[in-house]
């Protein structure tokens, strides 16, 4: 696996860790943040951060994976 791909996969693991495997630890009402129950706040925060995470993965792929062929780019 090329370095850019490896870094991208590691970044992409973050939404899975926070939005699936962390759920048993965040299944709580309090503290309420910005008026939202904590569980909902946690989920929304990571949903909103996912585009940033994917954008970073995209930049790292670009940086470390020099394009081999331009077909489909």
């Amino acid at each position: 696996m090329r370095k850019g791909t490896r870094l991208a996969v590691m970044l992409a693991a973050i939404p899975f860790l926070t939005l699936v495997f962390a759920l048993p630890f965040v299944n709580r009402l309090k503290p309420m943040i910005l008026g939202l129950p904590f569980l909902l706040f946690w989920i929304l925060a990571w949903v909103a951060l996912t585009p940033a995470i994917l954008y970073l993965a995209y930049r790292l792929e670009k940086k470390y994976n020099p394009p081999k062929d331009e077909s489909g780019r």
Binding site: L19, N27, T50, P51, S71
Partner: protein, 487 residues
Amino acid sequence: MNPALIIIFGTILFSALLGVYAGRRVPMNLENWTVGGRRFGVLLIWLLMAGEIYTTFTFLGASGWAYSKGAPAFYILIYGTLAYTLSFFILPALWRVGKKHGLHTQPDYFIHRYGSRALGVFVALIGVVSIIPYLELQLAGLGFIVNVASRGAISASLAILISFVLTCAFVLTSGIKGAAWVAVVKDVLMLLAVGVVGIGVPLIYFGGFGKMFRALNLKFPGHLIFPGATGHMDVVWVMSTCLLTGLGFYMWPHMFGAAFSAKSAETIKRNAIIMPFYQIPTLLVFLVGFTALLVIPGLSNPDTSFLALVNKTYPSWFVGFVGAAGAVTAMVPSAVLVLFAATLLAKNVYQTGFNPKAGERRVLGLSRILVLVIMVAALLLTMFFPNELVYLLIFGYDGVSQLFPGVVLGLFWKRVTGKAVGVGLVAGVATVVGLIVTRHDPFFGLNAGFVGLAVNGLLAVGLSLATSRNAAVSPAGPAHSLKGGRP
């Protein structure tokens, strides 16, 4: 004639005409019909995919779940985000294979990758069987929305019939491009409707969503954490359901096919990055469902909570506007679903399975006839077997999710074999059907589809390892080489 009726029918008609117009001067062949000539840029792909994903379920089911079940509804926010994250890796790779080998459908991919026509036919059938309840769900939702929004002036059957004719019109003339253009109208209307109502109702009744949540927690303690108002939808169920539906998301034949219509692998990758933003409307729908629980508790059908609250709160012209948005929101996914179901049957069941010599014109002609046949079938199912909305969706997911190992292993693992994928697929589907029929869903807290997928994936990997090792030892040597070949 009241203003709501004019708004609803005006919008439906305008959308359908736009869809028909989209197809002018497009010579109709299979390439244009199914994948829009592979010419869609980031914006159109985003709108098309959002059009397919945010369906009547977003209006009805999501608010219904927030209303009747509480926190388990949050799974909808999660699984989409997981799917987009996966799609960042899967869809560009898939697009390249599709472009290189001129693939149009999901079974095309299986046939190409594993060199097995039987597998292709089986995959096509799983797709069609999963699509029909999904389509039925859209039609039922549409009839219901228009009926309520017109305050009973239009019967559900009449609404379904009219939009069914109009949807068929733009599918038949413009193929996937028609759906993409109508998706533009749909998105603008739906965002407006959900934005106004989602921000509006908590403000009107409670002075803000923070106060609404506090009031909800006082009146219904436990509603806002798992398992909410349900007994069985606890954290483990949510986790397994999110994983299952997140993996299954792009395995829907229409989602899979939409990826092929992008103009480049880069387009589809950028699309994956911006998709999660489209989860925000779902949050607003939840706010409506929660507010409805406090304002109008005790509804016999929770799926009515969104519209019932809109009806109670807003003037009739605005209710008509929400109805119009809801109707178009059903038409776009209906169009794409019926298009892909028909193409799967014509291309991958009829042509692949029975008549490999059939020419392209014949396959396209048959696809068009089948669009009508499938729509009528869904129409009859909707009228005679109505069911609670979200369960149908989850059953469909259980089926299509079983295609995940075949697609992903095929893209990224050289050693996977068609036989192993086929055995895994049959075992996975059998597990799901077995668990549901014997009423073991959830199975020890896990979603039945997830159990099937685990069985399926283990078999696909295990058998591939076992058979390709044996083959490598055998003196015959190249016997293990892939029939279909990797791109």
